[in-house]
Symmetry: D2
Subunit: 347 residues, 4 copies
């Protein structure tokens, strides 16, 4: 099959060819629960740029060359002998983690914390290709309303935003406030999910007017330009107290300290973006009784829930299509901030 393969790291992202479009062997069914999916679309994620940079090298065990692409959807091409819940030809979206389902975390529905798993595109071959090897437990059948290439980015960007917003919605009450820091690929989904799941007033903080415009389209009730005065603006909007929940889709630079400061005493700071640091005296955690919550993608049932929102039009995703052979162009465009919404590679 054809694939866009990563052969070497490029720490400075200064090259022009991050991946090589070439022929590679087709993936094969190895276990009775394996499924081969013909890719309909593979999302291009900032994490892919971080992989090219080598940032993930020490975090995961993977050897080059390999195929990136962890946001995948398509059609079932071939199934192992034990597969019962999908059949050849089904349109499916792929939960990013492949698990056996035997560990206690999986049995409790918390599959993101499976003790045994693989993450195609991160630590195994992914979906920048014509075919992907995944497992039966990762597949959700799509309703006719949703095309694979239109929904692929929900599997990671969308799901991560959904999970964090859902956690916040569990405690947000009418009359309370939620701040979203960042109205980009994840943030604009998070805003829509919050609007669907709770009645808190949504304040969005972003550096760019484009981001703030998108935030308003997505349902933000208040927007705040991140120009240095954002903390004061959020405090002013919230009666001086801060917000009961802050969801930080940026997670680097000044966003972290600002996000924690924007959180009301007794409130929750959800961290989704990464790259920066939490640096905080413990006494401040005591006197404020705040909670800092890490967020890692989302579970399979949560992806089902997100698909239900998408199917009903309660969340929408803007995508820009590239051919698989144009993978480098898509990565460059992402690197240079030229993509509104999410790039998707179509084989």
């Amino acid at each position: 099959m054809k694939a866009a393969v990563l052969h070497r790291y490029d720490e400075s992202l200064s090259g022009t060819e991050f991946v090589r479009y070439e022929d590679v062997p087709d993936p094969r069914i190895e276990k009775p629960t394996d499924v081969i999916v013909r890719i309909g679309g593979a999302g291009v994620c900032r994490t892919d740029l971080h992989i090219v940079e080598g940032i993930w090298r020490s975090k995961v065990d993977v050897q080059l060359p390999y195929i990136m692409g962890h946001e995948n959807a398509g059609w079932v091409e071939e199934v192992g002998k034990a597969v019962e819940s999908v059949k050849v030809g089904d349109a499916v979206i792929c939960h990013p983690l492949v698990t056996s389902g035997h560990c206690l975390a999986c049995r409790r529905g918390d599959d993101m914390h499976a003790t045994d798993s693989r993450f195609p595109g991160i630590n195994a071959n992914g979906g920048y290709a014509q075919y992907l090897a995944t497992g039966e437990r990762s597949l959700i059948k799509l309703p006719a309303s949703l095309l694979p290439k239109a929904v692929a980015p929900y599997t990671d960007a969308g799901l991560t935003a959904y999970r964090a917003a859902k956690k916040a919605s569990r405690h947000l009450l009418p009359g309370e406030y939620v701040v979203c820091i960042g109205a980009g690929g994840l943030g604009h989904i998070g805003i829509q999910v919050l609007g669907a799941l709770c009645a808190a007033e949504i304040i969005v903080v972003d550096r760019s007017d484009v981001g703030l415009g998108l935030a308003k389209e997505c349902g933000a009730h208040h927007v705040v330009k991140a120009d240095g005065g954002e903390l004061e603006s959020v405090l002013a909007l919230t009666g001086g107290h801060g917000a009961e929940a802050v969801i930080d889709f940026v997670g680097e630079g000044s966003a972290v300290a600002q996000g924690i400061a924007m959180t009301r005493n007794g409130g929750y700071y959800y961290i989704v973006g990464y790259g920066g640091k939490i640096d905080l005296p413990t006494i401040d955690m005591i006197t404020s009784e705040k909670t800092i919550v890490g967020n890692l993608v989302g579970t399979y049932p949560e992806l089902v829930e997100l698909m239900a929102l998408a199917d009903r039009g309660l969340v929408n995703l803007t995508t820009r299509e590239y051919r698989l052979s144009e993978a480098n162009q898509a990565l460059q465009d992402l690197h240079h901030g030229k993509i509104r919404g999410r790039a998707v590679l179509v084989p």
Copy 2:
């Protein structure tokens, strides 16, 4: 009345007289909901030493001279005209915060986050004295089984440990683990509360053999000496995963980083002690999906719950009695680590 009054800060704690035992005016009823309590006992807390050092100077608005003592119990001496729920002579324990009860936090039962409150002993005159001015809403009547001087330290040390342990017990399941870092004044209460409220296996980490001995008496299932190898020991006890909950009663030095590292992915790190820093890359919060939870004393209903545990003998507190006139001796003994359990000043 007699009181032990703080007249000046002593940053190095090098003096011999931190407070002065002297005559001061009696507190008076000013509002219809005010109550004067005759002190039966006032706990001596490490926070009092921190106050003497001046550490709290920038955090609270209080002028010297004033009277420390935020862990108080005694008998109702006089009541304001609107007071209905207690009468003169009732034995009572004093919730540390005095609130009006009108704000939404109070109405939701979350009185620690009242928008309007005072904290006698911290930002108003406290209980190192014969009498204390407090409010009706702070008082819990004691059952005959519990003497004021025996329970006074429950109001802060006990309540803080109770709240953190209760939060953890809400999610701890049989087969899971909880680590307590520190088996001192708060920790030894926390261990007992965990044993009463859940069936997780309790691992206690402490620097001293005395602490570990006390931990075992309090019901710890495993004890680990904090000698540098504590992280490895905890991982070994928990199948390499870490504990589903870690309660850090130390909160300074290496405890914080170790405590977070001892927390299983998807688990909760409860921070109770203070003095140190949280210093953590955001990517580590993402990949581990851990939650860091601040803890601030506890609510009035939680103090009622703790008294129910004490009344039934499910938690026990070791106290050492000093006369009020010996306040400096008590503070010095605490400063020099000579107190097992908790010092209590008795007027």
Copy 3:
């Protein structure tokens, strides 16, 4: 003052004068926390007809003559000496229960289960009058956007619907279903609250086309005529499984059995309306693992939350105004089904 006073029961509701419009003594401040409210509007509730019928005689301790009216809003007229949180002239809505705030239920925010309380209009003089005696803890200040006479019915009808819908929203996930039985005074609020607080699909069952029309205006996604085939219709809409939550605003006749049958295994049946019976073999509760949830008005903080929704226009209430002297007309119109929305008496 003028009031519409109930002097005798009328079991058959066949008379023309249920209450007598007459002069009665003004209510007076008796306790330091008492507040006198000048009534801006008092909602007329089906429970008032049930009181006239004598249905509540055995449930509450009240002597005739007395003044009905438990849905009240207006302006603070006079305050007791301990009152701090409202001042004369404030526009307020009155939580229906008057509590002292001292019991543990109140301290936990669960004031509907106060061990000591009175319920003006039910077991004490209510708001079919120019003035009402209530307590400081019952009052919520209104934003300028909300007029007392426009919001009075929120205090009982609205709050009851809110609390049940909020309970359901805590567990309803995208892709799930909620059924509302009855789209009348309570139901039409419940539908709007569900739309604001969760993303479940809302199915409304009602006997009348007018009710179903109102349901659609309020945001119902599916409407089902209660003509005998409603159970089958709901099962068809929910893939044969029933809904994860059913809120029964009727609570009598066939609604109860149907409502339980419409509930999915493992789901929740919320009972709000009354008059009928639950009659169910225990084995059916076991094999289905359903939960049946009683609902009693709502807490003070929940009324604050509902006012936040109303202030933002997320819930709306249709009212029809009558002068206080026309109380009998309002009651007759309600009795004969001539009121769309909610009648409000204005002194």
Copy 4:
């Protein structure tokens, strides 16, 4: 293999031979996830008597002759080709439900509500035999401390009691009360679980002094003879309010109405036993705001949790061993109330 086979119903339980001990074909692996377990012990349950009586005939789809026995443990004898998590020779306890794991309920950890499942011993051949056909997802490996024949009854009797007690423990606070109605096979497990998972005071109501004696051994704090005055006794013990939770292991006769009456306003009545009826005016559910909770066995992770309690000696089960060929004797002894604890058939 040998099995004790049910050939015909006996509505009056008047016969002497309920089942026939005979040779039947061995079960075989049919699907890749099938597992054959060599039975170490099969619990004899009152439900088995109800099956013989024909009570379940209309509830489940099963043809005679078939093999009863839904409480099974033993050793893995043979595994299908896709089985990864157990191997031949492993000592295992069998969760009673066999599921594929593909439906959303299973993916959320709520496997008792699987849309596709079978229940060996109820609607498929069970464990009154030498071998049982089950599925990989039903098996939990036993620690060396637990013998199959000693733990078999945990799979249904134990798990059902555990799940109900666990639900109650999630909201029971120190100072609150829980009533267990019935201290028999399920009740005596429930009492121990409550003692392990919460600090509420446990009141046990039973008709027999033997039951009350067992209750005390299991940790009951108060015992009440069910002699007609049990409601008054429970109210007296609970300050006139009733208990925050009532777990009804009887579910028939007067227990249901009494159990609901013993529940405090705002509290929870958990129904576990069956045979009787709930018969209640809806107004009583409204004014009391009680919740009635059905309970159906428990999930796979809950059986893992219960095994953790058993492994640590926090719950204990009394069993009486019979040979498989003595199945009729065991059933007769159960029918005539001659068994203390739980009968187990050993092939």
